[in-house]
Every structure is written in structure tokens, then in C-alpha cells.
């Protein structure tokens, strides 16, 4: 029973990682990476490492997603036609 749960979570992790590479839209890719990180936290919890799971959920799914979205926003502001190409 526990082995099936591990296999299901790991399969969804692989699918989420594949979609993080496959999406052309970068925002969808970042969301897929957040799903990857959240499921990795779930897998750490199932492997009885709740300490690592809390760190992975907070850093991977929360903070790095926010930082990626801020960086994407900055890239869009840089490429906008009305200006911003000063550097």
C-alpha cells in the first residue's frame, strides 16, 4: 500500500518536471515547478523526514516561485515596446 503511494507521487513528480520543461509559456512552467516542489515535500514527508518537508514546502513551493514570478515580471518590463530598453 505504501509502495503504491510512493510510486504514484513519484510518477506525478516526473510528469510535473516534464511539463516544467515542455511548456512554452514561462509562467505555466513556473507553476509546474511549484507543483513539483510541493509533491517533493509530500514525498519527503512520506519518507518520514518532516523537517526537510517543511523546508522544501516553504522554500521550494513558496519563496522560489515568488522569486521566479518577480523575475518574469522584470523580463516583461524589460522587453515592453514603450521603453525600458535603456540597459
Amino acid at each position: 500500500m505504501n509502495g503504491y503511494a510512493h510510486m504514484a507521487v513519484l510518477a506525478i513528480i516526473v510528469i510535473a518536471a516534464f511539463y516544467a520543461v515542455w511548456f512554452r509559456d514561462l509562467l505555466s512552467s513556473v507553476i509546474s515547478l511549484a507543483v513539483f516542489s510541493l509533491l517533493l515535500a509530500l514525498e519527503y514527508f512520506m519518507l518520514q523526514a518532516p523537517d526537510v518537508a517543511i523546508a522544501e514546502a516553504a522554500i521550494g513551493a513558496g519563496l522560489s516561485t515568488a522569486i521566479y514570478i518577480i523575475a518574469l515580471r522584470a523580463c516583461k518590463a524589460l522587453k515592453s515596446p514603450r521603453g525600458g530598453e535603456g540597459r
Binding site: 518537508a53 517543511i54 519563496l63 515568488a66 514570478i69 522584470a74 524589460l78 521603453g83 525600458g84
Partner: protein
């Protein structure tokens, strides 16, 4: 970054408090439950990220001063290294508060128990110092990234408006 819609802002109003309380819980219970200073600090810094994404950089940066965060960071590091050096009579990082009574040093009874909260000595003090340091450091990263974006957006002369206003 523009503030998001009223749905996102209402959810942020409700859940940011729970994030802060849960992060403080993880920091304070760091020695008897999973987690600790770094994990709880990352959870509380996620609250700062939620506020910044939901309310936009302009509004949050109007009342958040990065100097306060720098001071918190320095305070956390100083408390950590001071608690390390205060035990140098025996060894560096010696737990001189454990078992001494008082706020941090109550004695743990023998036998199985569910964990006494204020029995860890300097460990919980160091957890709080590390939590303060991680909260302010990760919040500073987010705040300075938003300041970097506003550097580009200010050149376009575009005012910041929400999706529903």
C-alpha cells in the same frame, strides 16, 4: 507589480495571519517538533512574499523600511553568537541554561512525557535568533527584487493600477 484582484487580496488578508502564526509556532517549538529556526523563518518570509504579490510592490514598499529588516538580521546574528560565547566557560555553544530553572531551563521529568516547552536552554534562544535572521534575510531578497523591478518600470512612466480598478 500590479496589485491583484479583490479575491486574491481578501484571501491574502485572511491567510497571511495564519502563515505568520504557523511560522512562529514552528520557530518556538523548534526543539520538540519538526522544524526549527530556518524552516519557521522561511514560512514567515512566505507571508512577506504573499503580501508583496497580492498588494503590489508600491503599496508594500511604502510602509516597509528595509533598514528595519537589516537591523533584525544583525540582531539575530548577534544574539546567536552571544549565546554561543556565553557558554565558553565549559565549551563553545555549551548549553549553560539547561536545567537551571527560570524561563528557559525547567527540568524535564523522568519517564515518557509529551515534551516540556521551556526546557531547552539556549537551543530555543538560538532557534528564535535564527528565525529572526532568516525572516529578515529572505524578506530583504524579495524587497530588493521588487525595488529592481520598479527601477525598470519607473522609466516607462506607467502608473500602477489593479485589475479591478
Amino acid at each position: 507589480m500590479n496589485p491583484l484582484s479583490v479575491v486574491v487580496r481578501t484571501i491574502c488578508d485572511i491567510f497571511a495571519w495564519f502563515l505568520g502564526i504557523f511560522g512562529a509556532y514552528v520557530i518556538i517549538h523548534g526543539h520538540i517538533s519538526p522544524g526549527g529556526g530556518f524552516q519557521g523563518g522561511a514560512v514567515v518570509a512566505t507571508m512577506a512574499a504573499l503580501l508583496l504579490v497580492a498588494y503590489g510592490g508600491k503599496k508594500v514598499l511604502s510602509f516597509v523600511r528595509p533598514g528595519i529588516y537589516t537591523g533584525m538580521e544583525a540582531t539575530g546574528l548577534l544574539v546567536f553568537i552571544t549565546a554561543g560565547f556565553l557558554g565558553i566557560g565549559t565549551t563553545f555553544f555549551y548549553n549553560f541554561l539547561a536545567g537551571q530553572g527560570g524561563l528557559f531551563g525547567s527540568v524535564v521529568p523522568l519517564g515518557p512525557n509529551s515534551g516540556i516547552l521551556n526546557s531547552a536552554g539556549t537551543i530555543s534562544l538560538m532557534n528564535m535568533a535564527v528565525g529572526l535572521e532568516v525572516v529578515s534575510g529572505l524578506s530583504l531578497i524579495l524587497i530588493y527584487m521588487f525595488k529592481g523591478i520598479r527601477l525598470f518600470e519607473g522609466r516607462e512612466g506607467r502608473s500602477e493600477r489593479g485589475h479591478d480598478r
